[in-house]
Symmetry: C2
Subunit: 148 residues, 2 copies
């Protein structure tokens, strides 16, 4: 859970200004364990900072995603959801998604096998199809405890 100064520093490195919206959005994401949509973030912060605009939330999330601070999960229907990305490979995980309520659960089972398979597959596909592979997703869809 890196603090404000950590982020502030990483922002400066990227020629981006350190502003209140950015600070409170990062702060919320680092306090929240859930994957939140733009509207949820907006709703959660509105009380604290009523001047905040939904547009800014979208723009900030887009920036955080572009800088690699945040991962965006867009599966099935409904809005995109965001989570802070941990440092390096040690945070490797994938998602279990409820198709009814949209809840997302991180899982970290069989990580090593996954990494091996992904690496192998990625190399093969990149070569075979002349693709520049930048990312991958593995996800399981279904109904959570509450929705089943």
């Amino acid at each position: 859970m890196p603090g404000r100064h950590h982020w502030q520093h990483r922002f400066r490195e990227n020629v981006s200004r350190w502003t209140l919206p950015r600070e409170i959005i990062l702060d919320l994401l680092s306090r929240s364990s859930r994957h939140m949509s733009a509207k949820e973030i907006y709703g959660a912060l509105y009380a604290l900072y009523p001047g905040l605009g939904l547009t800014t939330v979208y723009r900030t999330l887009e920036l955080l995603h572009r800088l690699g601070f945040v991962q965006k999960v867009t599966s099935g229907d409904g809005p995109g959801r965001y989570e802070l990305r941990g440092e390096g490979e040690k945070d490797h995980h994938h998602h279990l998604i409820c198709t009814k309520c949209g809840r997302i659960i991180d899982y970290r089972d069989f990580v090593q096998e996954e990494l091996d398979l992904i690496k192998k597959t990625e190399e093969t596909l990149a070569k075979k199809h002349n693709f520049l592979i930048q990312d991958h997703n593995i996800e399981f869809l279904g109904l959570c405890e509450k929705c089943r």
Copy 2:
């Protein structure tokens, strides 16, 4: 490539009527190798059948998806894309997706290893999180030959 009668029969089994829009949409999907969006399907069929409505395309695709005839791929941004689902496990495959032009390539490499890992993971997750798992996705995102 099952013909009209095959589909017609499977529709009847499901208490759904066999109509012209359904026939031409299924026919197009079985002739096309690409994963098509609703609008692309609409566009491709409009010349043949100018009465066709975009709404009907969406509804038909939703029905085909619900009946399990069609798979829907919704990754990253842009519209959902659809492909006919082959029969049984022997058509097991996943996707390589270009984030720029939206092109989707099916791949079938390391199928057995994937199936094993997925099965194992699915069982573990279902038990651990009390989830009813209905589906899974594995996808690689990046830039295709033309867009890189």
